[in-house]
Amino acid sequence: MILPPRFIANYLTLLIAASCFILIALDRSGVLPAVHTIVVILYEWLLLLASFALLLGIVHLLITHLHRIQQGQRDWTYSLVLVTACSAVLVAGLIQPSGVTSPTVEWIFNALIAPGQATLYALFFFFMAAAAYHYLRVTQPAGRWMLAGALLVLVAQMPASRTVLPAVYDEWVGWLLQVPVMATVRGAILGSTLSLLLLGLRFILGRSRL
């Protein structure tokens, strides 16, 4: 009997996943210490795979953008900037003996990458401020509760409020955070964890597909 390739691929993948699941479960539970050596080998394979995937991603990125530059596609200049920056960092790390800890690479990181990333992330504040201005309003149907919660926590976190408000205010906000908010968060965590567990089991048992 000749099985179709798709059938073999699907069930082979399922078999590998289930085997890894069983081995790691046995190792974590401590029931069968002998499997630890096998599990360590699996971890090492995972390490290799992840490293290779990272390299593959970089190569694919470069090939894609080099192709865009070669074809003169739209916004090819951005691709040129990307390839140039990538090459510059790579060369700076390779030509110096200290590698990633070389002064040039550290300067690139400290003077270019870190401020650039921080600046992009800081723009998030303006998005948040615009959203708060637009939606945290008492005239919004659900905005009153959200506004009340935001005001309570904002005032409690404001350092200057320590000099004005009594200490019981902090205790009251702390109770709100510790009891109702925490109950909600616990429910969300438990619910999402259970759903993840069930989804994982369904996937392993072949009842769900990606």
Binding site: Y43, L49, A130, Y133, R137, Q157, L177
Partner: protein
């Protein structure tokens, strides 16, 4: 591409799909009925009932009816379908009812049945021609009826003009200028100094006490889970921690699962070391490395189990050769006395608590951004986290608990951020006030 059409809504689906992409109906149950087509035909043919030849015998598998006769293949059903005008209740025999129940739903699923002819050696194949039925509807008709029954109704008396109210203008440029000025001007002009102090939330004192009571020369595993994007907040938080660890003589073993994490960690350790070296009251160990930078560990959360079980093996895959010998020979490294997760996102802490901590049995501290605090606070209450320090509030409170000060510039930076916190919160409160005043000014219920 081979496609199949959903028997319920007619949507084209890939052959082999279990459920319809649009309506979610189980396609496997009707797979044979609908069948696969190799062309994207818009409407699949309806399954039609098949008729048998008049001279063919009875169905061998049919159960005997009440009269002791075997039910025949739906002759009566076929007759009823072909002559609807005569289909009165009296004209439908009990046999037909029984037969319909027996074969209903499987007529279209069965392959042409072969029945051995008792009179000859050659088996005779039943010819089952497809006949048009007066009751048969096209797929389009079926789809329309189902659409009428399932979709939202369309209002025929819908007003011709809709009273559309345009959304409020946000005046975003002015808004952002106001925000920037509210924060920047007091800082640049040094109008006001730091006022007040941040509140000390639960978890900060516990974290400080735990580190303060660790014996010197022990090892602490530090999982560095932030990079340059969130360094503005996280550096403030991590600097007192790293300074405290180094001043106590605890050797951090730093590993990161972010590509930019090791560089951030190295930068911060340099700052903390410089601050401690400037303090005459602090003696740093000279016979060993202050910290072990284990570098970048790819592989995601799955490898945290390995790090927890066997850090000496897991982390020596990446460390420089100079540190490898130490890692392999140091007994304390096999079981770090403490694990500290320095993370901008709550997921990094959760992953360690789920994957690593149950295998390591050591206390875990979390130093996180303020945004991660609400998600992680239940873990502190349950005891999975031994301490939680989050946001600028936590950083300031943690540093206040220490007896050793940071470098002068770092302390000045911390105080400057205290003033920034005040003005930032004030700006946001002002923003909320303006937004609500604008909403009240319009007098409507829309935002």
């Amino acid at each position: 591409m081979n496609v199949m059409h959903c028997p319920h809504c007619g949507t084209t689906n890939r052959v082999g799909s279990n459920f319809c992409n649009r309506c979610g109906v189980n396609l496997n149950s009707d797979e044979r009925t609908v069948g696969a087509t190799s062309s994207p035909s818009p409407i699949a043919p309806l399954p039609t009932s098949r008729t048998r030849q008049p001279d063919v015998g009875k169905w061998p598998d049919a159960e005997p009816n009440e009269a002791g006769e075997r039910a025949e293949f739906p002759v009566e059903e076929e007759q009823a379908a072909n002559a609807p005008a005569n289909n009165s209740p009296s004209s439908v025999s009990p046999t037909a009812t029984t037969t319909r129940r027996l074969v209903a739903g499987i007529e279209g699923l069965l392959d042409p049945l072969q029945i051995a002819n008792e009179g000859s050696d050659q088996p005779e194949t039943l010819a089952l021609p497809v006949t048009a039925e007066p009751f048969a509807m096209s797929m389009e008709q079926v789809r329309r009826i189902r659409g009428l029954l399932t979709n939202d109704p369309v209002l025929l008396d819908r007003p011709g003009t809709v009273n559309y109210q345009p959304p409020n203008r946000l005046h975003l440029p002015w808004l952002m200028i106001l925000l920037t000025l509210a924060v920047a001007l007091p800082i640049l002009l040094d109008l006001f100094g730091p006022i007040g102090a941040p509140v000390q939330w639960p978890g900060v004192a516990e974290a400080h006490t735990l580190i303060d009571t660790l014996p010197a020369d022990t090892t602490a595993l530090v999982i560095w889970a932030y990079d340059a994007a969130t360094a503005g907040e996280m550096d403030l938080l991590a600097l007192p921690l790293v300074s405290h660890l180094l001043a106590r003589g605890i050797q951090p073993m730093v590993v990161s699962q972010l590509p930019g994490g090791p560089a951030m960690a190295q930068r911060l350790f340099d700052r903390a070391t410089a601050g401690l070296l400037a303090d005459d009251g602090v003696q740093l160990p000279a016979d060993r490395a202050l910290a072990i930078q284990a570098g970048y560990l790819p592989g995601g959360a799955a490898l945290l189990s390995w790090v927890a079980q066997d850090p000496a093996t897991a982390l020596t895959r990446h460390v420089p050769a100079s540190a490898t010998d130490f890692l392999r020979t140091d007994v304390a490294l096999a079981r770090p006395a403490l694990t500290i997760v320095v993370a901008a996102q709550a997921e990094a802490v959760q992953q360690w608590l789920e994957q690593g901590q149950p295998l390591q049995y050591t206390p875990t501290l979390a130093f996180t951004s303020a945004g991660a605090d609400p998600i992680l606070r239940p873990y502190l209450a349950s005891g999975q986290l031994s301490g939680l320090v989050s946001g600028f509030d936590g950083a300031f409170a943690y540093q206040q608990l220490r007896t050793i000060k940071l470098a002068v510039a770092e302390e000045a930076l911390l105080n400057r951020h205290l003033a920034l916190q005040n003005w930032g919160h004030f700006a946001v409160l002002l923003l909320l006030l303006l937004g609500n005043l604008a909403a009240w000014g319009r007098g409507g219920t829309r935002g």
